[in-house]
Subunit: 358 residues, 2 copies
């Protein structure tokens, strides 16, 4: 097991944990390393569930906040290990996970180790399976088994937000759109019906789709509808009887899950649609007193969060939550994922300043 | 290993070998059973190459013919084991392989065992991997390692032809049509390019395509262009950077492989096209003297063969070849694949009559 040095700079710590691969489902090695390093700290109570690590201060403060980050990444695509990179005269750390979201996790690990006397009690959460189906998500699992750990006045997720405070998040729906045909030998295709050919209008509607931009509580959310997978086919000489297009709809937090579902069914009217994953968005939630104090301390104009993040999970539990982390969310999941080094330092400074203020 | 009783009726023998699964790549058990049963016959010299079995008479006849059949099938899809079925008052045997082409193989096995004194020398060939890439094909492999075994004046393939003589065959081309994009997080799709959406025109062209019908030496060949596979996608929240559509083009034997390739490139102009499998068709070849004698003995009007079959392989080696076997080729690879029992008996009678005539 690689050892983590929590006294290193947050930049070096980012590099170290990015170089430990942790694609969803394969977080064990990194979770072990975190548990080992955090378990040595006397001021934290540590709890583990699967590959999720929870560490809590218990100082009897009047208020408690949760600070959380996921430790998994999307699949590696030639972008590991990390590299140092200068871009327009600015130092960057390049590689899978640098943006989404190991730089944020590195800052959290460092502050968890160093802040022995914060102004509020803190529950740190580092969790698995954020990049895949909601039912596998470590926070989801933990909220069912240990809801008591989620009792808090405010939550901060370290999701990439360019070091700005991003409020709320879009909702997230995945559905399978299916076309059916009749199998036949491809040499006599006219006795079959080609399910892949029948999917032509499904792809055409996706290609023509123009997503909305929706203002919610003063923040403008941008939607999106994308095919994320397609599959069909039996053998090289068989007219296929099934084609499946998996689509992903990101919808503004003002749209309910019911209306989002209906919208997808409307877009693919005439086709079989099965919703396989569905999560409500979260309204910005910036009117909570702790949220306002936090925004003031960090000193930034709040923006909307486009991507679904686990702030929605806290929001659903009645805990106001915002995103605050280093890295440009536009580069999340990108092959050229990279984080400006100064943003890591800034986020560390912002969080430290607020958590140690009196 | 299941034992084959070659003294059973050709119908019972069909049932027996259909109930031994032999999807391409998994022919070993059936090949073992055939080798064991055929190896007991004193009048045949038996040779094995991989899962291909060759058995030859050596009677010093002036002429030699090849009679061949493949022993593999396309994947099983809930259509195994076989069932007896009555349809419009006619007895059928239903299940994977009954049409393509174990009924033909069963007839061949029975005749190989019983015809100890045929009018011509016979080279029987039962071979593997017909339903997949050409380079895996057992006949292809054998023609490279033992070209001497292919020396013959005429060849009969037992491919399903409704008990009629079908001449020549269409050519066969498989190609991958690729679209490329840029990966991104699906919550911020506007910074990526969706490769699956870009495949919309590929599917539209396939759906709109109208295949030709082409007369060659008096027989009319019907062409076809079909998607046989489609795939694309990285993860449920990633805009994919690659989509691949595998297409299968069946073209009349009057069209060269070069012109067939150009046609596919023209249809998908503007897209990346990679040809992955390409086999010329075969002209009918019914002017060979043995072919004319055979057609006269069987007493049927020759028809065109739509599907590519290994007659093209013999044709390329200078051996005229026809298809003659039980089963409706329209039902090959179909989930409801089934052969009329009387066609099995008829084909056995036709082959036996010609091979024992003086």
């Amino acid at each position: 097991m690689p050892a983590l040095d929590l006294s290193a700079t947050s930049v070096d710590l980012t590099r170290a944990i990015c170089d430990i691969p942790s694609v969803s489902g394969d977080e064990g090695v990194l979770a072990d390393a975190i548990q080992d390093a955090i378990g040595r700290l006397a001021h934290l109570d540590v709890y583990r569930d699967g590959d999720t690590i929870v560490a809590r201060t218990d100082l009897g403060r009047a208020q408690r906040i949760v600070i959380a980050g996921h430790i998994d990444t999307v699949p590696i695509n030639g972008n590991m290990p990390t590299r140092d990179l200068e871009l327009d005269g600015r130092a960057h750390l390049w590689g899978r996970g640098t943006v989404d979201m190991k730089a944020g996790v590195a800052v959290q690990l460092k502050l968890a180790a160093e802040l022995v006397d914060p102004r509020v009690d803190i529950t740190w959460m580092w969790y698995d399976h954020e990049e895949v189906e909601a039912e596998l998500n470590g926070l989801n699992r933990l909220s069912a088994s240990r809801p008591d750990l989620f009792a808090a006045d405010f939550a901060i997720l370290g999701e990439p937000s360019n070091g700005q405070v991003e409020g709320g998040c879009n909702g997230n729906l995945r559905a399978i759109v299916r076309t059916h045909g009749v199998r036949a030998h491809s040499a006599r295709a006219w006795v079959g019906e080609n399910a892949i050919h029948k999917a032509a209008p499904v792809l055409a509607r996706l290609a023509e789709y123009r997503p909305r931009e929706v203002a919610v509580e003063g923040l403008v959310y941008r939607e999106g509808l994308n095919a994320v997978r397609i599959r069909g086919g039996v053998a090289g000489n068989v007219v296929p009887d099934l084609c499946e297009v998996e689509v992903n709809y990101r919808f503004a937090p003002s749209r309910s899950v019911e209306r989002a579902t209906q919208h997808v069914r409307d877009v693919f009217a005439g086709f079989e649609v099965e919703v396989v994953d569905l999560a409500a968005g979260a309204r910005p939630g910036l009117d909570a007193p702790l949220a306002q104090e936090f925004v003031a301390a960090v000193g930034a104009e709040p923006r909307p969060k486009y991507g679904w993040t686990d702030v929605a999970r806290f929001s659903a539990l009645g805990v106001p939550a915002v995103n605050y982390g280093p890295g440009d969310p536009h580069l999340a999941h990108h092959d050229e994922e990279r984080v400006p080094v100064d943003q890591i330092v800034d986020v560390e400074r912002g969080l430290r300043a607020w958590l140690t203020s009196s």
